[in-house]
Amino acid sequence: MAESVVGRSVLRSDLLEKVTGAAVYTVDITPSGTLHAKVVRSSYAHAEITGIDAAAALAMPGVVAVITAEDLKDLFPRFGHIVPDHYILATEKVRYYGEPVALVVAESVEQAADAAAQVEVGYAELPAVMSVAEALAPSAPLVHREVYGMSGDESFTAMAATPTADEVAERDNVAHEVTLGWGDIDAAFQSAALIVTDSGMRFPMLYAYAMEPYNAVATFGGGRLDVISTAQHPFMVRGDLARIFGLPLSRVRVQAPYLGGGYGSKSYTKVEPLAAVASWATGRTVKLVLDVEEAIYTTRADAAEVSVRTGFDSDGRIVARDIDLVLDSGAYADNSPLVVAKAANRSFGPYRVPNLRVRGRSVYTNTSPASSYRGFGAPQGSFACEINLDRAAEQLGVDPAELRRRNLVDPGEEILPGKRGIDADLKADLDLVVESLRRDASSAQGSGIGFAVTASDAGAFPVSTAQVRIQVDGSVLVLSGSTEMGQGSRSVLAQIAAEELGVELAAVSVSQSDTGTVPYERTTGASRTTTLAGLALQRACAHARDQAATMAAEAFGWDAAAVVQVPGGVQGPDGRTVAFGDVVMHWFGANAGEITGIGIVRRDGVTQKMPPFWEVGMVGVEVAVDAETGVVDVRQLVTVADVGFALNPHAVEGQDLGAATQGLGGALYEELVYDGPQLLNPNLVDYRVPRMRDMPAKIDTMIVERRDGIGPYGAKGAGEGALNPMAAAVASAVARATGRWPTRVPLTPERVWRLLNDLPDDA
């Protein structure tokens, strides 16, 4: 194949808008006459609401309305695309500290904030479950007494390897449970030469810290709802909003301008219902902007406690794995049922495991709700399960890379029975990481290397549509519902259109996601845009080219069978080449009209088999540990992005390094900590994320291209892979530097110092 536009690190046009300050984000949009909302939040983890007195707030200057659950009685007052359990405003009781209880709407931001402080909410405290252990204890207080029923459709069950019944005989705090397995694990463990067990491995609550906090601008009127918001999945948000107001999908419009970061945290519905009910109640446009503390209380990653037991034969081949995953999903299910299903699918790794049992539970607690986070269950499970392999290698006296090589699946081999076989050469990828690490590794005391491997069933449910519109002047408009949140979706789609139509890259514009104007795109998540939106766009371009050929034959009186498609247009039987714009002009008979090409991806053909592709996570680090202070210094960071084909190599590298850096954050620094009902550190001073000087001197980001994906030109998705195995890689490196195996991350200086001094963990 000889591509000319894709495969090159072309400059991203969105970056040009962003460096001048001209790029518009939701937070920059304030139509004139907009009201501003401020959320009144719960000051208890679990309490009955005994009364709300808004009189004082209503009397304050500029206040237009104070909205409580009472006002939403005529609406469907909840959201949640799998379990619709999430109240827009707390109803009868609050389930976590920080939960929205009321909404003050005023003429200015300051007036709304001042008045919100004057809303008096009466509470009668209830016993709370602040941890998974408390939530699962016999006769624990229930976070939810109600049964909501699942609204997750086939797309949900298709992504979980083994769907399970959602009916539970007795009410408990388990929001969702999955089981997965095959073979006879009891017999296999009986026959094992070595069994290695890691129990109670703990992965922290993480905050994605997308730097633009959640915000939305809503306008309700004339039986229509218009929302501009920081939404990764505007079409999914539209579904929740339509249900709330009983509106047809066609009367709800959700636009997503540039997003200031996403990382999964802006998946699904967040603040849009709050802004929408405020506009519905007041009849005016309402803007709601959260601050970072509110954003932290809005969504976090599922914390996890994972136990794993692996049996090996005398050659170090895995004979069985038994894994238990318990996720702390907080007060509302949100996307955690899918996160736990994915955590189960991804936990045991891309290894040949002849006998397997995985149990995963997503548990309600009276903490802030968890939902999607980059990696989607993979980081939680792989932390325990990859360390478990490293400990086994140590006990077997086998090189940990060699142990993995003996067990990794070969290209095409199934990881999940009946699902797509792995579309990657994992052993070759692993060799690249290990070779790079060992080349520069120090032999000094207190240093160690670690590496780890994951494969994620990625791409999500394949429903994507795209349109390409060729204008009479030859310029091209691409319509896609993929949200540009920094990952470069608009740029990569422009490259595909330019390549497929044979036009200049500068001639292509890509629209923002907008459910009112662009064709349906299920989500912007699971690293899907290049692969699935890209395929849809490729098909749209083919459709447009076909139409151009037909139109040219008609306009110029050519034999249709003799028209040839050439870059930028068509060629007639007389050898004459006509550009697309001229085809439009001649066919319409005026300097007017356009060609619209439509492309569709569904579960059919190359995207029939789930998952659409596997996303490989392949990373290594070298660390040096200061024995006096416990500080972990990362010396080397090595990643392999196994992407099939890199449409824009620099952009792929950027996503890969970004994911790896976020992974380092969770491995070394980041953790939301509850102390009683509320968080100790809901701010960027106490929740530390990686900074410039944390980055290692050696960063080796390798891209592997074997054209083995189903996406355009053999591409597969990227952007989560390097995060997924990072906690395990760092923990193993620290273990080799200190001689002691960590059981939880992040490996903060205090935790490492305690490990070095054989002191109990801090909690």
Binding site: S9, L11, R12, D14, L15, L16, E17, K18, V19, T20, G21, A22, Y25, V27, D28, T30, A56, A59, M60, P61, E110, Q118, A208, Y209, A210, M211, E212, P213, Y258, L259, G260, G261, G262, Y263, D291, V292, M485, G486, Q487, G488, H650, A651, E653, G654, Q655, L657, G658, A660, T661, Q662, N683, L684, V685, V689, P690, R691, M692, R693, M695, I699
Partner: protein, 167 residues
């Protein structure tokens, strides 16, 4: 019932990106609010509101400040520079061009702050080492890139600016 008091404020005379501004601002109005809401200069973003993320960095008399916690009233008699003032018409500042060419941004929300902070560095130190760049920019958070391309971009811009002044 709370009593209604007129909001306290003061007269302000400042220049923003070279343009003079005079008017009245409430005392509690931050510089970021003034720039974004009163002047419509939304290129300056706000994130942590605790002076630790660097997103809202602008220059006041050439010094980088966190506009989220800097009162608008305090720029009275001073000159403010924001990201909108970096380019010369359609001609990007070398830092802007270097950020684009080095893929030193993705979502771009932190970028105005990085650009202003880097400008302050290069005005003081035209030939910084990588370590000096990292030291100077350590107070700015980027959640997308892993920072490596940002260091490369600042290095490239510094080199271009030195070439421009010596040539």
């Amino acid at each position: 019932m709370s009593e209604q008091r007129p909001e306290l404020g003061s007269e302000l005379a400042t220049t923003v990106n070279g343009a003079a501004y005079t008017g009245w601002v409430p005392n509690r109005r931050t510089l970021a609010q003034f720039l974004r809401d009163d002047l419509g200069l939304t290129g300056t973003k706000v994130s942590c509101e605790l002076q630790v993320c660097g997103v809202c960095t602008v220059l006041v008399d050439g010094e980088p400040v966190s506009s989220c916690t800097y009162l608008a009233a305090d720029v009275d008699g001073r000159a403010v520079e924001t990201v909108e003032g970096l380019a010369n018409g359609d001609r990007l500042h070398p830092l802007q061009r270097a950020f684009v060419e080095n893929f030193a941004l993705q979502c771009g929300f932190c970028t105005p702050g990085f650009l202003m902070m880097a400008k302050a560095l290069l005005e003081r130190n035209p030939d910084p080492t990588d370590e000096e760049i990292r030291e100077h920019l350590d107070g700015n958070i980027c959640r997308c890139t892993g920072y490596r391309p940002i260091v490369a971009a600042v290095r490239a811009a510094a080199s271009e600016l030195r070439g421009a002044t010596s040539g």
